[in-house]
Amino acid sequence: MSMRSQVAMGHENIRPDHQIIAQWVSPDATVLDLGCGNGDLLYVLIKRKSVRGQGLEINEQEIYRCVAKGLNILHGDVEKGLSDYKSRSFDYVILNQSLQQIRSVDAVIKDALRVGKKVIVGFPNFAYFRSRAQIFFGGKTPVNESLPYQWYETPNLHFFSISDFFDYCRSRKIRIEQKVFLDGERRISFFPNVFAQTGLFLISSNVRG
């Protein structure tokens, strides 16, 4: 997660994916950020949209960083952390750059769609052209900006593409309300599954409650 390690504080220095998410989230909403890392995104959402935020993170050192930002942060595993919440207890549940590290993706998304009225998902696109080239020409597991780890030390458990995620939403009857594809800071609309490093989706369950 190289994006995560970039220090993105100060107004002009907000990460591009965080800016998109901040545009999507409505003011004063309640937000649960699953795998919130150092809390930069929640901090941005509180400052810009005065959301009531709750973070969940497994890494102890990140907990201290979140607490220093004044965030509500729970130390724990995303896969065990959702079931306690009542249905629709948050306006948004966010899984930004954490989905690829979760074992049971399907179950977590399903539960996120239960707990949150809307769910925001952000993930590295495995079919990014540089990754394709590294596999095709180099015959090696891709290592690049959005997939910064060697195969033997990656925390990523799943490698999926923007097209995969479209298929997934179709098969699970998940409504895609918004989508943005990024290559660094640039928005990509032309063949995003090839040219985007990152996919961002605002989704909701088809059943309206």
């Binding site: 102890e60 201290y64 607490v67 220093a68 004044g70 942060i73 729970l74 724990g76």
Partner: protein
């Protein structure tokens, strides 16, 4: 977070004194009443004009009102001096910190060793079985007496954490935030078992004499063994290995059951010194109060914290096997279900249960920022915010 410890140890409160507050009558949870109850307490820092900066610190099983600073002539400071004082986690330049000895204790507050005003004799086993809730009720009266409407925070580790939870449930409108540390909503059978072994050690001592030992020798051997059991449960396998190893105390040949190993000597020393500062009957009453405690009051977890509006910071420690992290996570679960704004950290530590007294840097970081946030929110909402 290195260097915090050295920096904060340089500043202390200096000389502090214990004060006493008399409550004419306390109605206990079991329906009985206690007349003329004394509460020993200490305060540090200044109460601000809004009376909004008060923090109540709740001590663990064998603690007392002397949480920080030094008593005249003492070499050692109060039991949480590393966290309470100018510039520390509980910054006495900013906050007004209160700590009282629990009801049932033996450090200045009314307990089984106190004189029963009805009989003119010591209570001994005529003392009623008090509860964690009764301790909190007495603290509430002390807070009233000090003119404080709503506490900025209630905080405590171990049994202190149980009192924190009891405050949350009994007086949700009186607390703006709560910090339960290394604690549980209710004792597991294992925790009750360790307490029972301690109680049995005391009661098996012939000097105990059904609690009527105040005019003779106290049940020193029994109380000492009880404390040894306690100390084993407060440490961890790793912390014992680091502290003692299999180190021998002397090079002398082994004789029959002298304290050959360092760890044996340590336990004997801890047991013996405890006897000089603690009352055996208080041990019985307070451990029983802990065993009986159930923060959820038998209610399903879904209803437990329904009225809680405080912000909560729960802290657990990895190697704590007496109050394991799963028990703190159960408290977090209740908070999540109730929609309470909660933070939780399971601090990496090898100290076992003792960690809550020893992991100063991590606790300071968590508590300092948490309190700052709560205090700031109070300031910007003019005191009307949750």
């Amino acid at each position: 977070m290195t260097g915090v410890t050295e920096a904060i140890l340089q500043r202390d409160l200096g000389i502090v004194q214990t004060a006493y507050f008399k409550i004419p009558r306390v109605l206990l949870e079991n329906g009985e009443t206690l007349e003329s109850v004394t509460m020993a307490y200490e305060t540090y820092g200044q109460l601000d004009e809004d009376r909004a900066n008060a923090i109540l610190v709740l001590h663990a099983f064998s603690g007392d009102a002397h949480a920080a600073g030094y008593h005249e002539g003492d070499k050692d400071p109060g039991w949480w001096n590393v966290l309470i004082g100018p510039g520390k986690a509980f910054d006495t330049d900013k906050y007004f910190v209160i700590c009282s000895n629990v009801l049932g204790g033996c450090k200045g507050s009314t307990g089984p060793a106190s004189i029963d005003p009805k009989s003119g004799k010591r209570y001994a086993l005529d003392f009623p079985q008090i509860t964690i809730g009764d301790m909190v009720e007495c603290q509430r009266q002390l807070i009233d007496h000090l003119g404080i409407g709503r506490l900025l925070s209630v905080v405590g580790g171990s049994m202190g954490g149980m009192q924190v939870l009891s405050w949350l449930v009994k007086y949700p409108d009186r607390v703006r935030s709560a910090i339960p540390i290394a604690t549980t909503a209710k004792h597991s059978p294992q925790q009750i078992a360790f307490n029972e072994a301690g109680r049995q050690a005391i009661m098996a001592d012939p000097d105990w004499r059904l609690g009527n030992y105040y005019d003779g020798n106290p049940p020193a051997k029994g109380l000492s063994v009880a404390r040894m059991i306690g100390h084993i449960t407060y440490m961890s396998d790793v912390s014992m290995t680091e502290k003692f190893g299999r180190q021998k105390k002397t090079n002398l040949p082994v004789t029959k059951f002298r304290a050959d190993f360092e760890v044996e000597g340590y336990l004997r020393y801890r047991g013996d010194s405890f006897v000089r500062r603690f009352d055996a009957n208080s041990y019985l009453y307070i451990t029983k109060a802990m065993d009986l405690f159930d923060a959820f009051d038998g209610k399903p977890i879904q209803e437990a914290f329904g009225n809680v509006s405080a912000k909560v910071l729960v802290i657990a420690f990895k190697s704590d096997w007496l109050y394991p992290a799963y028990q703190s996570q159960e408290i977090v679960r209740a908070c999540k279900i109730a929609g309470v704004e909660t933070s939780y950290c399971e601090v990496h530590s090898t100290y076992g249960h003792d960690a809550f007294l020893l992991e100063v840097d991590e606790e300071t970081h968590l508590i300092e920022h948490f309190l700052k946030k709560v205090f700031y929110e109070y300031a910007v909402t003019g005191g009307y915010g949750a």
